[in-house]
Amino acid sequence: MHSVLRLIRTKFKLYWPLTKSLQTGLLLSTGLAGYMSARCPVMHWYHFLGLGVSLYLAIAGSTIINMWYDRDIDAVMNRTHHRPLADRRVTPTEAVRLGLVLSVLGVGLAVAMNPLYGLIVFAGLFFDVVVYTLWLKRRTAWSIVWGGIAGGMPILAGRAYGLGQIDGIGVLLTLAVLFWIPTHILTFSMRYHTDYQAAKIPTFPSTYGFPATRFTIALSSVIAALSIGTAGILIGMQWGFIRLLVVLSIGLFLLAVASVFRPTERINFGLFKYASLYMLAAMILLSI
């Protein structure tokens, strides 16, 4: 019994980094916020729990499959060469099995809960794994658009599950996440520019240069903030929370502008961190 527990603990420690817990947690929070934007206060905790579990399984599963497919890239990048798959602490077969099991469980549970919700969760997984990772990531810098669409699926799924249908606000929230993704990913690809070059992955900085990338980040930050703000107003968010959202959006915009006109490594990484914090705060405000 003791050895079984130890084995589980050891495996868990190895598998946990495969799920990219912070990224998965952030995407999960958008899904829960999408649901709560339609169903707040949450009256049926088992619906909420089902939503959380199915989304977590599907997001973690697709993340593991991505990491399995990209293990050759991870092995040559300084930032990622220590990941369990890249340094062979987890075998590829073990990882892809785990990813597939989690994905099937997540999508299966989602379909059982509500077919429309299940379809959107499946679409997210399909866009992320097949379109973004398998097809476009190694071919074009524009793959992030599809990564963004995949990233927008949890919030659309959560809202569709809450309402029983897809509505304009759900689409607006998806757009908000879609346009937030460049702020997140492009700042990252500038910070680890040489890593991506070593792995021969086309990115915006390597294709269009740093100034154009910074401008894209600033523009997408503004569109993301406008989309979230408009969605907040249409949802009927309290005036005080809209004020708070505007303040946080202005902070995001100012940092993005600073990164265009006074670009430094610190500002760039600050923008990356702030963008994550901004999205989390926006999701909390949408949920209240």
Partner: protein, 197 residues
């Protein structure tokens, strides 16, 4: 780590004030307080993310002026009806003048004098108005806490200004060490003072 926790608490208090604490006021004070507390919130987040070294940025001078200027404008508009229009003109012109003299290279001492005057008047207003109103019975005694917050913001502003001017009252390390605590105390005094007013 302690500094980050203090800054996080400052940010959360400022966020609460923006979202809930200023409901019920007129449009202009709500705008002014949103700017002031919003700046405190964003500044706290940026200091957590970028570290206290972010205070070296030249934009800090503009931001640190906006906080007392906007808070004092809200206070005057709500509590000193006679001076409403005059103070609004002073706040707008003062802000624009500081912005201009910081963005365009100026020779001489004009930018420093301007900063001292605008910062000084705004700081004194936040410090004296609530205390005077609380003592004279025109506001609840708790409103005086806003004045205490004003004293703390003045103290922080002075320390940073002297540091930037190359004549620090305390060493840079000490100032950076006490600044997060000072910011939290100041924000807490403002939030409590407004709640008790």
């Amino acid at each position: 780590m302690t500094a980050r926790i203090l800054l996080l608490l400052t940010g959360l208090l400022a966020a609460w004030q923006v979202a809930i604490g200023i409901d019920g006021a007129e449009a202009l004070p709500i705008f002014a307080y949103t700017v002031g507390f919003g700046m405190l919130l964003v500044a706290s987040l940026l200091l957590i993310i970028l570290g206290l070294e972010a205070l070296d940025s030249p934009i800090v001078v503009i931001l640190s002026t906006t906080i007392p200027l906007s808070l004092s404008l809200g206070l005057v508009w709500e509590h000193w009806l006679l001076l409403r229009a005059g103070y609004l003109v002073f706040a707008v012109l003062g802000f624009l003048a500081i912005l201009f003299t910081r963005l365009v290279p100026f020779r001489g001492r004009l930018p420093v004098y301007l900063l001292t005057i605008v910062h000084g008047i705004a700081g004194l207003t936040i410090f004296l108005l609530p205390i005077a109103w609380a003592l004279s019975g025109r506001a609840a005694p708790g409103f005086a806490l806003v004045g205490a917050g004003g004293a703390l913001i003045g103290l922080g502003g002075l320390m940073l200004s002297f540091l930037k001017a190359g004549r620090p009252v305390l060493s840079q390390a000490t100032i950076l060490k006490i600044l997060p605590g000072l910011l939290l105390l100041m924000t807490a005094a403002f939030v409590l003072g407004f709640a008790l007013a």
